[in-house]
Each structure stands twice: as structure tokens, then as C-alpha cells.
Point group: C2
Chain length 294, copies 2
């Protein structure tokens, strides 16, 4: 692998992921110039003040103009309008790529606006925290993590390799998946866990006042992990659920059936049903640890 | 507070919590002699070999005989038979206490066997990991965590203070709660999160082979946190659910209703419902962080 060096990289949306990428690109010298845009003028100004970008604007077309690589880091719900806005500004031969947590919906939103001669390489770095905004990013977010690219049948292979090399230069291990397969895998590994965490923390907020106070006080031992996940960005996650609806609803249906079976076992005092499941899940935990993702 | 020093402390069950306590008691010089028993002869022998106890046996009555403090650290389902076994061996004035995650069921299981002149102080240190066995314990498990005591109306206050001082000497902050209140708070902060984590990891194990492989491979981003929780001890957790049945089923019912409402919002594309909840849960996360439990 040779690390790519872009003349002008545009990062559209300078939140947690966008600002982490800007920092990594800076640290690794992967672009001669980094330009960002953000719909929030305070975030754009902050990115410039932090020195992680060379130029910052609120206009995505201005940022994308003349860039040889444009990285979409906005919530998925904004992809269609952002793609329409930047399309006329994209230079021939430019690579357009993204970091969105859903891939089929992203492809559907972007491709209608794609100008001739621009290469679109959908991507998803599996990295993040529950924090938001340009101050929360850090270059060390990426090393040791997976990045999944979901190129389309017609995608230029050189463009795909360039995007892969960019993420590898940031420390990631890059894999390719079909878009629909990506969406099913992420529905269970990421989207459903987030939905459940949001739900249980929501259930706790609806408790009587004195109980809620104690739930927060004694939040160690399980609940705390859920509050961390449920502290994630509301806009980003609303858009994920609305845009990976089928896969999420399918997972959720399976989960609910399994939970109902456990509820029944508890009500009937069937300890062996519980014990058998808990033994199986412990084996899965071991698999996750052996896969060195723990 | 004056740290208590026991002549002979008996730890019944030398797993994660029991062996962590033995290490802390050793480190702080809280007992002249530490004796343990474990139903698993390998665990008993291992505790002795590790040097964290002075004597080890498989007979809880032998361990409890002559002890001035007896700490039950066995799965809750074993409390009744262990209490019956050790009762004749308990010396007058001895303190019997425990670390069980449920308190009402523990009180019901133990009190019928309690000899005259023995002080029973139900307790629950809110500390743990997903690991099991005497090798997994460590003295640093306790500092900075809460310990909840649920003394009964007739409990000798000096005995309660002695148990509180023991946990404080291990670094914990001690609070008192009513047993039924403890069980409701823990149902939502600990038991329901564990049940949900077990369920979702179980749902993932039932996926088609190739999907399951990728779920493990890409387990970062949410699922991994659940596998950690779902790697917890199967016997301990089976007993928790069977013994805090009413409170767990009540929480579970509320959770299921809330999840169904979210499922409906996703199916109908009601982004505002999702956004509102995710904004509320982010505020709860902030509350947890402000409570310094994050």
C-alpha cells in the first residue's frame, strides 16, 4: 500500500467522525489542503480554530469545489440534499465517498445526483463514540478498527483502492461487502443494540421520581453501559433507523420473540431454559474475545 | 470509622466476589484468619494455593464453625441449603451476611434457618465483572463502588455497623435500603440490562452461519458491550431472575411496551418520536456522568 496524498480533501460535516478524519489526515500528511463544511456555523468556525482544517464554510458546494476527494460525514437523512447541492461543484475524476452507517439507502440517495465522471465509493468506518461535534474527534479513533466499503458493480476499481488506502493510512483494516449484506450485519451488531439501549434508558426515565434518582445513583452494574450507548447523537441515530428500516425491524422481531420466550421461562420458573441460553451466550463472548475485538 | 478485625472470617463460595473479598481483607488486615469453602473442590484448592485464604474446604459448616463473621458468596439458589448446613455450626454472636444481588428472596431463604443469637445482615456490594472463579478476583473491585445493606427491623444495629465498616474498609460507600426497594432498583439497573444483553446475544447466535461469523467479526460498535454483559456467570444469573421474578417481570413489561412503541415509530417513519426519545436519553446519560458513576 502507498498512502494516497490528495491535493484538496473536502470533509462535508465536521462532527465526531469528520473531525477525527481531519486530524488523522493531518497527522499522516494525506492531503495538501483540507477543507470542511458544516451546516452549523459554530462547528465550521471551531474546526478552523482548532487548526484541523485549512478552510471552513457552511456551504458544502464551496467545500467540494475542486476537491479530488469528497467525504460525506453528515447524518444520513441529509445525503440527498447535500449530494444535489455539491453535484455541480464536483470536478471530473473526483472521488465521492462517505462514512454512513447504512449503505443501501445512501446509495439510493446519492446516485441520482452523481455527475458523469465522478466516482462514488460508499464506505463505513466502524468507529465512533457517543460524543458529537468537532471537539470530540481524535485521530486514534480509527487504528485497529474495521472499515467496510460497498462499491457498486460499475465503480471504478482505482477509486475504490484509493479510498481503501486512505482508511488504511488512518490505521483501519478494510473489507468489502455487498451493501445489503452490510446493512443486515450492522442491524444486529450496531443498530439493534442502540435501539435497545435507547429504549431501556427511556423506560428508566419514565419511572417514579424517587426510583429514577436511585437508578442514576446505582447505575453501575449494567445500566451504565446502556446509558453510554444511549447518549449517542439523536439526529444521526434517528436517520439510521429510518434508513435501515427493513433490516432493523427484522432483527427487532427476532429479538422480541426471543425476549418473550425468556419472559415466559422466568414466569414459569424454568431455570434450565435460562441456564442453557446464558451458557450459549458465554461461548459467543469467547468468540468475540478470540476475534480480538474485545 | 474503625476498621473491624475479625478473628476468623468465613467466606462461603470463593468465586469472583468471594475471592476479591478475601484479597481485600488480606490486604487491609481485616481478619486474623480467613477460611473459605466452595462446592467445587478445585476452586477451594485453588484459593488455598493462591494464598488468599488460610484454610479451604468443600464443607461450608466446617468453614463457618467458630467464625465471628460468615459471608455468603454462593449463587442465590443455594442460600437455603447452605444456611441449613451451616446453622448448627454458627457460634453465638456470629454475624451472617451476604453479597447476593436480590435481597427479599435471600431473607426468605436464610431466616428460617437462623439460630438464636446469630445476627443476619443482608448486603449487596454493587461490584463485579463478567468473569468467574477464584482466579478472577481482585481487591480493587470494591473501592469507589456502592454497597447496599438491607437490615431487617429486628437486626442488631452493632452487627449492621460492623458489616458496614467491613465494606468501607474495602473502599466501598455504604447505604441502607429496604429489601423490596433494593430489588426494584436493581431490577432496572442490573437485572433487566443483563436479561436484554443475554437475549440479543442469543438472537445473534441463532442467525444463519455466515451472518453469525460476521456479527462476531464486526462486533465493535454496540454489540461488543452486550457480549461482555452476556458473558456473565450462568448459574448466578439464572438464580437472580428466578429470585427477583416479580420486579424483573414488571420492568420487562414496561420495557416491552416502550420498545413496541419505537418499533411502530420506525415502521411508520415517525422520526420526531425517535428524535425526542434519543434527546431525553442523552440527558439521562449526562445525569449518570454527573453522578460520577461513568
Amino acid at each position: 500500500m502507498t498512502a494516497p496524498v490528495f491535493d484538496r480533501m473536502a470533509i462535508i460535516g465536521i462532527g465526531l467522525i469528520g473531525s477525527s478524519l481531519a486530524r488523522a489526515v493531518r497527522a499522516e500528511g494525506l492531503a495538501r489542503s483540507i477543507v470542511c463544511s458544516d451546516a452549523n456555523p459554530e462547528h465550521a468556525a471551531r474546526a478552523k480554530a482548532l487548526g484541523i482544517v485549512d478552510e471552513a464554510t457552511t456551504d458544502p458546494a464551496e467545500a467540494a469545489a475542486g476537491a479530488d476527494l469528497v467525504m460525506l460525514c453528515v447524518p444520513i437523512g441529509a445525503y440527498g440534499s447535500v449530494a444535489a447541492t455539491i453535484a455541480p461543484a464536483l470536478k471530473p475524476g473526483a472521488i465521492l465517498t462517505d462514512v454512513g452507517s447504512v449503505k443501501q439507502a445512501v446509495i439510493e440517495a446519492v446516485t441520482p445526483h452523481l455527475p458523469e465522471g465522478v466516482h462514488f465509493v460508499p464506505g463505513h468506518p466502524l468507529a465512533g463514540t457517543e460524543k458529537s461535534g468537532p471537539d470530540s474527534g481524535f485521530a486514534a479513533l480509527f487504528p485497529g478498527r474495521w472499515c467496510i466499503l460497498t462499491p457498486l458493480p460499475g465503480t471504478d476499481d482505482t477509486a475504490t483502492r484509493t479510498v481503501a488506502d486512505l482508511w488504511r493510512a488512518c490505521g483501519m483494516t478494510v473489507e468489502r461487502l455487498e451493501p445489503d449484506h452490510h446493512d443486515r450485519v450492522l442491524a444486529i451488531t450496531s443498530h439493534l443494540p442502540h435501539l435497545i439501549a435507547y429504549t431501556i434508558v427511556g423506560t428508566a426515565t419514565d419511572l417514579e421520581d424517587h426510583l429514577r434518582h436511585e437508578v442514576i445513583k446505582y447505575s453501575a452494574s449494567g445500566f451504565r453501559d446502556f446509558t453510554r450507548i444511549a447518549g449517542s447523537d439523536p439526529t444521526m441515530w434517528r436517520d439510521v433507523f429510518l434508513n435501515n428500516r427493513e433490516a432493523v425491524l427484522d432483527c427487532l422481531q427476532r429479538f422480541t420473540e426471543d425476549l418473550t420466550a425468556l419472559q415466559r421461562a422466568i414466569r414459569r420458573g424454568e431455570g434450565d431454559v435460562l441456564f442453557d441460553l446464558f451458557t450459549r451466550t458465554r461461548a459467543i463472548r469467547k468468540g468475540v474475545q478470540d476475534a480480538r475485538q474485545a
